[in-house]
Every structure is written in structure tokens, then in C-alpha cells.
């Protein structure tokens, strides 16, 4: 059987690979755009949660609890199916980007917050003693140290984020998962199609995970439970 089987695989490959690679490109595009927005939001929300005013802290805390507490798929469908009823019409791509950015930023903001809180109090006291302004203390003293500690958990989050983008196929964004589904409908070779889809995701995620491990060894602290999605 093995000779036939291998011949059949070789025959299928040129048929399956191009559409899957086109899908992968969309996956990377969604990941890059929503990842960049999520990164910015993470800093806004994470720093907001350390604000002096309890009102501001409360608002950002609610943001984190709501978007971490509800499922990513629910948020995605909310953006795509419910917002139009409220007068906000989004393309599938836009709905995907918004839902994914907001979802990951809820996790990312915790990374920012805990990294900033982990900086030694003495640094803050020294800045006060030097009469640095609050803004300069943050940008020149605290953040440069905190950012290094954020690198490993952000690497993990990026891998999670990339994997989560597979959900956008369910609102018809033509990503890698979507390409797999449509190939399955065309030729029914479930094993080959999904093995390839898994392989392609793996080829992108695995190097990122490796890089993250290396960062962890370099800058890492043991982030207990931070991996929990």
C-alpha cells in the first residue's frame, strides 16, 4: 500500500498546497494587523489599570474581566452579527481584526501591568528623589526595564493569538483554516488536507515558541499561570 499511498500524496500536493498557502498569507495578515493593535491596546489598558484614580482603574479592570471572561468566538460573532443591528457594519476582515485585538489585549494588558508592578520600588523612589516628572519616570526608568520582562510572555501570547486567528474562518475570512474547509468540500481528502493545515500552522508557530523559550531563559521570570488562556 505504501508505494501507492506516497504516489497519491505526491499527486495531491500541487493541488492542495497553493490554496493553503494563500490562506496562510491571510492568516499572517490578520495576525499582524490585529496583533499590532492588540499590542498598543495592551499598553493603554495595562498602564490604565495602574492609574491613581479608582474610577479609571475600575473602567480598565472591567474591560479586562469582560474580554477575558467571555469566549473569543463569542466576541467574534458579536462583532460580526450583533454590531450591524446597532448600526455598525463591518467587513468580515474588520470584525475579525477588532474582535481579536480586543480579546488579546485583555491578556496582554495583564502582561504589561504585572511587568510594571514587578519593577523594584527603589527605582520609583530614586526617580522621585531625582525629582523626575511622572511621565519621565515612566518612559525613562520604569518602562525600559519592564519591557524586557514583557518579551517572553508576549511571545507566548503571540503564538496563542496566531492560533486563535483560525476562528475567523467561521465568519468567512479566507484564512488557512477556511482554505482547509473549502478544500475538504471540494475533494474530501480530510486526512491530507488537515494534516497539511496542521503542518503549516506548526511551521509558523513552532519557531515563534522556540524564540520565546530563548527569551524566557534570557529575561524571564517564572510567570505562573500566565499561560492560561
Amino acid at each position: 500500500m505504501s508505494g501507492d499511498w506516497i504516489a497519491r500524496q505526491a499527486e495531491l500536493l500541487p493541488e492542495l498546497l497553493p490554496p493553503l498557502l494563500r490562506g496562510l498569507l491571510v492568516t499572517l495578515e490578520v495576525t499582524a494587523v490585529s496583533g499590532a493593535i492588540a499590542l498598543v491596546l495592551s499598553f493603554v489598558v495595562g498602564i490604565g489599570r495602574l492609574a491613581r484614580s479608582p474610577g479609571i482603574r475600575g473602567v480598565f479592570r472591567a474591560y479586562v474581566e469582560v474580554f477575558r471572561g467571555t469566549s473569543a468566538l463569542v466576541q467574534l460573532f458579536y462583532c460580526y452579527f450583533v454590531l450591524p443591528f446597532l448600526g455598525i457594519h463591518l467587513s468580515p476582515f474588520m470584525a475579525a481584526v477588532i474582535a481579536l485585538s480586543v480579546n488579546s489585549s485583555a491578556y496582554g494588558s495583564e502582561i504589561v501591568r504585572s511587568a510594571i508592578s514587578s519593577i523594584d520600588r527603589g527605582q520609583l523612589e530614586a526617580a522621585v528623589a531625582l525629582n523626575l516628572s511622572e511621565r519621565r519616570t515612566m518612559t525613562a526608568i520604569i518602562l525600559p526595564q519592564a519591557v524586557l520582562r514583557m518579551l517572553p510572555p508576549f511571545g507566548n501570547l503571540l503564538v496563542e493569538h496566531l492560533k486563535t486567528t483560525s476562528l475567523v474562518s467561521l465568519i468567512t475570512v479566507t484564512d488557512l483554516a477556511f482554505a482547509g474547509q473549502s478544500l475538504l468540500q471540494q475533494n474530501g481528502e480530510a486526512t491530507q488536507v488537515y494534516a497539511l493545515v496542521l503542518l503549516l500552522y506548526f511551521c509558523v508557530c513552532f519557531p515563534l515558541s522556540r524564540l520565546t523559550k530563548r527569551l524566557e531563559r534570557r529575561f524571564g521570570r517564572d510567570e505562573r499561570g500566565a499561560g492560561a488562556r
Binding site: E65, V66, R68, T70, L73, V74, T164, S209
Partner: protein, 217 residues
């Protein structure tokens, strides 16, 4: 469009019936994940290199591919391999296998966190391997990992809506079917969000308290 509370209450019964399946899948998936994760953790400490490599490869593949695709893979490929399982069983297996790659790492870190001196003391006292594990190592390894496992339980709970893609009518699929027949999306999806929030936020707070009690005193 304003939120129709009457309609929202009307569909709550249907949604809660779906939520039962959601909880069932979560509990089943977690039990499987705890068990398979333990096997993986043990396999990764095996003296046999091929066993270690195989277990590590499994963990890497599972952690670096999306759960949705793993779910599709099991759902479409298992029947081709002659395994006919009901969709719910496939969903539970997929959840369990996916999270086992994470629980394996949690077990490993729990064991690694027990100070070397404890092993050496057990050796000095001439305790058997079994007694060393059951009396010295495991009791100390469990405390730090309980809250971490709790977080994964919540994570799995939030992942269950994906089971709707393989025909399991859990909470999210119930909302989808209501939306599909009534063309009203606002109330069903909002209610689903509320159910998730109501269950996961208190659980998260509970786990944080548990963590403080177990590990900070």
C-alpha cells in the same frame, strides 16, 4: 435596536439546556486532560530516549497548532480510521488531548519546584521510591499547581464554543440556532456572553483566593 429583555428571558431555558452540555464537555475534557497530562509528564521523565522524544513531540505539535484544526482533524479523520464516536465524545477527546499538552507541563513544573534537598533527605532516610513520591514529592508538588490547573479549567470552558463547529449543540450553538430561526442576534449572543461572564469571573476570583490560601502563607 433596543435589547428585548422579554425575548432574552424566553430563550434562557434553551440556552441553559445548551450550557449543560458545555459544562459536561468541560468537566469531561478536564478529567481527560489531567489523566493524559500525567501520562505525558511521566513519559517525559522516562529513562528511554524514544519515549521522551515522542512525548515531547506530541506536546510541541499540540501546543503549536490551533485547537479548531485539531478538532476538525479528529472529527473528519477518526471516522476514516474506522473510529465512530458521537460528536460529543470527539469534542471531549479533542479538548482533553489539547489541554493534556499544557497540564503535562504544569505537572513537570510542580515536580521541578520541589527543592532538591527534599529528594536528598528522602534518600538519606532510605525511603522507597514509592514512598518518596507519595509522601514527600507529590504532596508538595500539588499545592502550587492547583491554581494553575484551575486557570486551565476556565480556559477550557471558554474554548467549548468551538465544539459548535462539529455539530455539538452546546451553549453557543443553541444561541446560533435561535439566531438562525428568529433572525435576532442581539439577545442570544449577549445572553451567551453573560453566561460565560457569570461563570468564569467568579471562578477566576475563587482560584485567586485558593492560590493565596495554598501558596502565600
Amino acid at each position: 435596536v433596543s435589547f428585548d429583555w422579554g425575548f432574552a428571558l424566553e430563550i434562557t431555558g434553551t440556552l441553559l439546556r445548551g450550557a449543560r452540555l458545555t459544562l459536561l464537555a468541560t468537566v469531561g475534557g478536564m478529567l481527560l486532560a489531567l489523566l493524559v497530562g500525567l501520562l505525558l509528564a511521566v513519559a517525559r521523565m522516562s529513562p528511554l530516549r524514544p519515549v521522551r522524544l515522542l512525548a515531547s513531540a506530541y506536546v510541541e505539535v499540540v501546543r503549536n497548532t490551533p485547537f479548531l484544526i485539531q478538532l476538525y482533524f479528529l472529527f473528519y479523520v477518526l471516522p476514516l480510521a474506522g473510529v465512530r464516536a458521537p460528536a460529543l465524545a470527539t469534542g471531549v477527546i479533542a479538548l482533553g488531548l489539547n489541554y493534556s499538552a499544557y497540564t503535562a507541563e504544569v505537572y513537570r513544573s510542580g515536580i521541578a519546584a520541589v527543592p532538591r534537598g527534599q529528594w536528598e533527605a528522602a534518600l538519606a532516610l532510605n525511603l522507597s521510591a514509592r514512598r518518596t513520591w507519595s509522601r514527600i514529592i507529590v504532596p508538595q508538588a500539588v499545592r502550587p499547581i492547583v491554581p494553575v490547573l484551575g486557570n486551565y479549567l476556565i480556559g477550557m470552558f471558554k474554548e467549548t464554543p468551538l465544539l459548535s463547529t462539529i455539530t455539538i449543540i452546546e451553549l453557543f450553538a443553541s444561541a446560533q440556532s435561535i439566531a438562525g430561526t428568529t433572525y435576532r442576534y442581539y439577545e442570544p449572543y449577549t445572553m451567551v456572553g453573560i453566561v460565560f461572564l457569570v461563570l468564569s469571573v467568579p471562578s477566576a476570583i475563587l482560584i485567586r483566593r485558593l492560590d493565596v490560601r495554598l501558596n502565600r502563607d
